[in-house]
């Protein structure tokens, strides 16, 4: 019972609190359980597990993880089953509204409010889509402008068709998937525009979702204006220069009733910030060590809340890393807190790395995930520090839309390690 006088809710102790039952949180909880952690609670704000996967009814999930091609709901179902078999507790409709630096989480659901005092916390809140307001698109604000994920939810979970004549801004994977989905539902996708000079999503999605359906992709092109008072009646496209500024004279009005936006995903780190956890300005996720531990000991992060992944298979992999690390942390009664031994800095052509801090581990190799800022062919990936070169690896092809990974020898990772791309000539 709540204490009316102190105006504070009673605290409930929990071993491992996982925030989010999407693919990252489920994989983390399962991994921690398999390492012997039993007092696990997952708080999930939706009424179902799987995060965004239940609305991703297309296939292409699980090739790396399960060696077979699954749909989103199927992939989520596998992990849901694993959690269920282990008896891992999931509270649904439970939104974490506050998180403190000492791992106290305030949770809201239709059963009331409570505070969990957790020994360890795994952040797995996922990400959200960048809205229109963040873009320099002028004009009116009628109905018919939706993020691709919002439209996907309406189509795939509610059976609602949000438009007939469609323009899509952004060639991120969800945008590409929705171009195909809307076409299959009888809508006419007139254009997919991408402000960059290369597609944002996976190559296989360009082929399978656009090329196979004859949907035109316009690179270095953006939407500059929306028209329509009640419903969208047209959008104006314009080509952009190398600095992504619209080129005057290239404007072209396209009549349509719907504009779908697939213009980037933003990790949802409001709770992370509230707890005072250090944030990487490039990923907008927590700055973590190789075990996905954040700047607060005992708090780990994984999946799209940490950095936006292309494949759910890698999200699950990262969830396992965090789950194992949380188990290590809980096993080790003394909870030794040592400073990181190395910091990885992204340079020349490398946009960011995860992890960016090295410490506490004992594996001979450290896998570093990274994204490049440009497309590269036949380039060399170089890791070095003040002691000299750690690695020089030939890479045939790297594109910004596809996450890269490289294994670095742990014993050489000290001080400031830079990761960069060198091109021939």
């Amino acid at each position: 019972m709540a204490n009316e006088k102190t105006n504070a809710l009673p605290e409930i102790k929990v071993g491992l609190l996982v925030i989010g039952a999407g693919p990252a949180g489920l994989a983390a909880a399962v991994a921690a359980y398999d390492r012997g952690v039993r007092d696990i609670l997952i708080c999930e704000r939706q009424d179902f597990a799987g995060g965004i996967l239940p609305q991703c009814i297309h296939n292409g999930f699980g090739l790396k993880r399960f060696g077979e091609e699954l749909t989103g709901p199927e992939y989520a179902g596998r992990y849901e089953k694993m959690a269920e078999e282990r008896g891992i507790r999931i509270e649904y409709g439970a939104t974490v509204t506050k998180l403190s630096h000492d791992r106290h989480a305030t949770v809201l659901s239709d059963k009331g409010m409570r505070v969990y005092a957790a020994d360890a916390v795994i952040l797995a809140m996922g990400c959200r889509e960048r809205p229109r307001g963040a873009l320099p698109v002028v004009g009116t604000r009628p109905a018919g402008i939706y993020t691709a994920g919002c439209a996907q939810k309406m189509v795939n979970r509610m059976g609602l068709l949000p438009g007939r004549e469609i323009v899509i801004l952004g060639s991120g994977d969800i945008g590409l998937i929705m171009a195909r989905r809307m076409t299959l539902e009888g809508a006419h996708v007139k254009a997919v525009c991408e402000v960059m000079d290369h597609p944002g999503g996976l190559r296989r999605n360009i082929v399978q979702c656009l090329d196979d359906f004859g949907i035109p992709l316009y690179l270095s092109t953006t939407v500059v204006e929306v028209e329509g008072d009640e419903r969208v009646t047209s959008v104006t496209l314009a080509e952009v220069d190398e600095r992504r500024r619209p080129i005057p004279g290239t404007e072209r009005k396209v009549p349509c009733d719907t504009l779908l936006l697939s213009v980037g995903l933003i990790p949802e780190n409001e709770l992370t910030r509230q707890a005072g956890i250090e944030i990487d300005p490039v990923t907008n996720g927590a700055a973590v060590r190789e075990n996905r531990e954040t700047s607060i000991p005992g708090v780990f992060a994984c999946g799209n809340v940490l950095h936006v992944h292309d494949l759910v298979d890698f999200v699950s992999e990262e969830g396992e890393i965090a789950g194992n690390a949380a188990a290590d942390y809980l096993e080790n009664a003394k909870k030794i807190e040592t400073a990181p031994v190395a910091k990885i800095v992204a340079k020349n052509g490398v946009r960011y790395t995860v992890p960016e801090l090295i410490g506490n581990g004992n594996t001979p190799k450290v896998t570093v995930f990274f994204r490049v800022s440009d497309s590269f062919r036949d380039a060399t990936l170089i890791a070095e520090n003040e002691n000299g070169q750690i690695l020089a690896k030939k890479v045939r092809r790297m594109v910004p839309g596809e996450m890269q990974r490289v294994d670095l020898p742990r014993e050489k990772l000290v001080g400031t390690v830079t990761l960069s791309v060198a091109t021939q000539g």
């Binding site: 709540a2 204490n3 009316e4 105006n7 504070a8 809710l9 704000r45 409709g93 939104t95 509204t97 305030t106 809201l108 659901s109 239709d110 059963k111 009331g112 409010m113 409570r114 505070v115 959200r128 889509e129 809205p131 229109r132 307001g133 963040a134 320099p136 002028v138 004009g139 009116t140 604000r141 009628p142 109905a143 018919g144 939706y146 993020t147 994920g149 919002c150 939810k153 309406m154 189509v155 979970r157 509610m158 059976g159 609602l160 068709l161 949000p162 438009g163 539902e185 009888g186 500059v224 028209e227 008072d229 009640e230 419903r231 910030r273």
Partner: protein
């Protein structure tokens, strides 16, 4: 022949002025009908303005603007408390630099004193820096107005209309006025509604409505103001409403926290011909950014979540034009500071109609001035826990960014004036107004509107007319 329904007063327009007027006339005992052209109250000028309750030093002494602003601003604290509307007296700073700037501020200070504004002083140097640490160092003096405040403008209009309805007033939405016939010692509107008195509070359309009743020759034009809205985590960038010295076109671009904790930049002031819409322009957005940066160089533009524009009605005189003839009250030129003055305008209309003998002799005996709204987020954790245990719907979060529960959305769809659309829910609860701008919760809101209003999901609209969110089913949808 159509049946005619009789009222004491017909108010045309459900903006903040019309809504507060409907409430005041109801309080005075009148049977009031409000006719709103759009799908909701507060969807014109009231929906898109700065939300500032001005202190009242800006307008020329003796004008309607000066008198009604000062009076309205003084009424605001008690009024917003009665109606559970978010209002904070955070104070405003009119900033300037150099001797010329200081002279300008002193003029404003004098005018403010003449207008009867209290709490005015000039602050300089370190004292100014202490008040507003992020202010540009180029700005070295300011007029500090402690009585200036911020209010949720549409929240005020919705609450006032809701309270009027709770006390017996009638609201008809989606009901544009198409005809007004002077007859029988009163006015027959749309051939259906009769009253001895009419209040034309139609905002931008007020001159057109007046012309329907034969009051021709009035002129108004729209002045567009564009804004940029930043995330709530940017709301603390400034602590007060920060202006620069006003010019003829208006009070200029401001940087201010909003009553809901966001940071607001704007407005521009662009005089336009009639019939334009609320589009935002590249030039306008650039101007806002440039001006805001001059005042507050560290303004965190990365936190922008949306931009929008509103239209203010500008009359010919430059002052609020308020007249009453044969029971027909016309309000034109209600531009800024219309929001600040709205409570006083409503009071004035009550006096005008009372003096003309057009209101009942006695005020309403059991008028209840209080409207309450359940706001779980403003409660302590213990209170909120108890609330959820009584009504679990307040524990189901629908809009994660603004932490709005199903219970609050249900209330918005039921409480006077009930929301009919997604925008209606937005203005009542803030759902969809956060950093994801409805990306996550729009589908859930469609389902809730459908459930509460017992309409099909394919009929749920964002706002007016044809603005259906998703107007057909998928091939397999049912």
């Amino acid at each position: 022949m159509e049946t005619v329904t009789r009222y004491d007063v017909i108010v045309i327009g459900g903006g903040v002025v019309g809504s507060l007027t409907a409430r005041e006339l109801t309080r005075l005992g009148a049977r009031v009908l409000v006719l709103e052209a759009k799908s909701d109250v507060a969807s014109g000028t009231t929906a898109a303005n700065s939300g500032i309750v001005h202190a009242g030093f800006d307008a020329e002494t003796g004008t309607n603007k000066a008198k009604l602003n000062v009076r309205g601003s003084a009424m605001m604290p008690a009024l917003t408390k009665e109606l559970s509307v978010r209002y904070q007296q955070i104070g405003a700073l009119v900033t300037a630099s150099g001797d010329e700037g200081l002279a300008g501020l002193e003029k404003l200070l004098e005018r403010g004193k003449k207008n009867g504004v209290s709490g005015l002083s000039i602050v300089r140097g370190e004292a100014l820096r202490a008040l507003e640490p992020n202010l540009s160092t180029e700005l070295d003096c300011a007029l500090f107005a402690t009585t200036s405040g911020i209010v949720c403008p549409y929240g005020l209009a919705i609450a006032a209309m809701g309270n009027a309805m709770d006390n017996g007033a009638t609201l008809l939405r989606n009901t544009p006025v198409t005809s007004i016939e002077a007859t029988d010692g009163g006015y027959l509107v749309n051939g259906t509604y009769f009253a001895k008195a009419v209040v034309d509070a139609a905002g931008l359309a007020a001159h057109k409505v007046a012309a329907l009743a034969g009051f021709t020759g009035l002129k108004q034009h729209p002045r567009r103001g564009e804004y940029l809205l930043l995330d709530r985590n940017c709301g603390g960038t400034v602590k007060h409403t920060v202006f620069t010295l006003p010019t003829k076109a208006g009070k200029g671009i401001l940087v201010s926290p909003t009553a809901d904790g966001n940071l607001l930049l704007g407005p521009t002031a662009e005089d336009l011909p009639e019939g334009v819409n609320c589009a935002v322009t590249a030039a306008g957005q650039d101007k806002i950014i440039a001006t805001a940066k001059k005042m507050v160089p560290s303004v965190p533009l990365g936190g922008r979540i949306t931009s929008f524009a509103g239209l203010r009605a500008v009359g010919e005189s430059g002052d609020f034009e308020i007249s009453q003839k044969n029971g027909f009250v016309i309000l034109t030129g209600i531009e800024s500071p219309g929001l600040s003055a709205a409570p006083a305008i409503a009071e004035l209309i009550g006096e005008m109609l009372g003096e003309a003998g057009l209101l009942p002799e006695k005020p309403m005996a059991n008028f209840d001035p209080v409207r309450t709204v359940v706001r779980p987020k403003e409660m302590t954790d213990v209170e909120r826990d108890a609330l959820i245990r009584r009504d679990p719907a307040y524990g189901r979060i629908v809009c994660r960014c603004e932490e709005v529960s199903e219970g609050e959305i249900r209330d918005a769809l039921r409480q006077n004036p009930p929301a009919l659309t997604i925008d209606g829910i937005k203005r009542r609860t803030r759902a969809t107004m956060g950093r994801c701008q409805g990306g996550f919760c729009t589908p859930s809101l469609v389902a809730l509107v459908s459930r509460e209003r017992k309409i099909d999901e394919t009929k749920v609209a964002k706002g007016d007319g044809n603005s259906i969110i998703a107007d057909r089913r998928t091939k397999g949808g049912n």
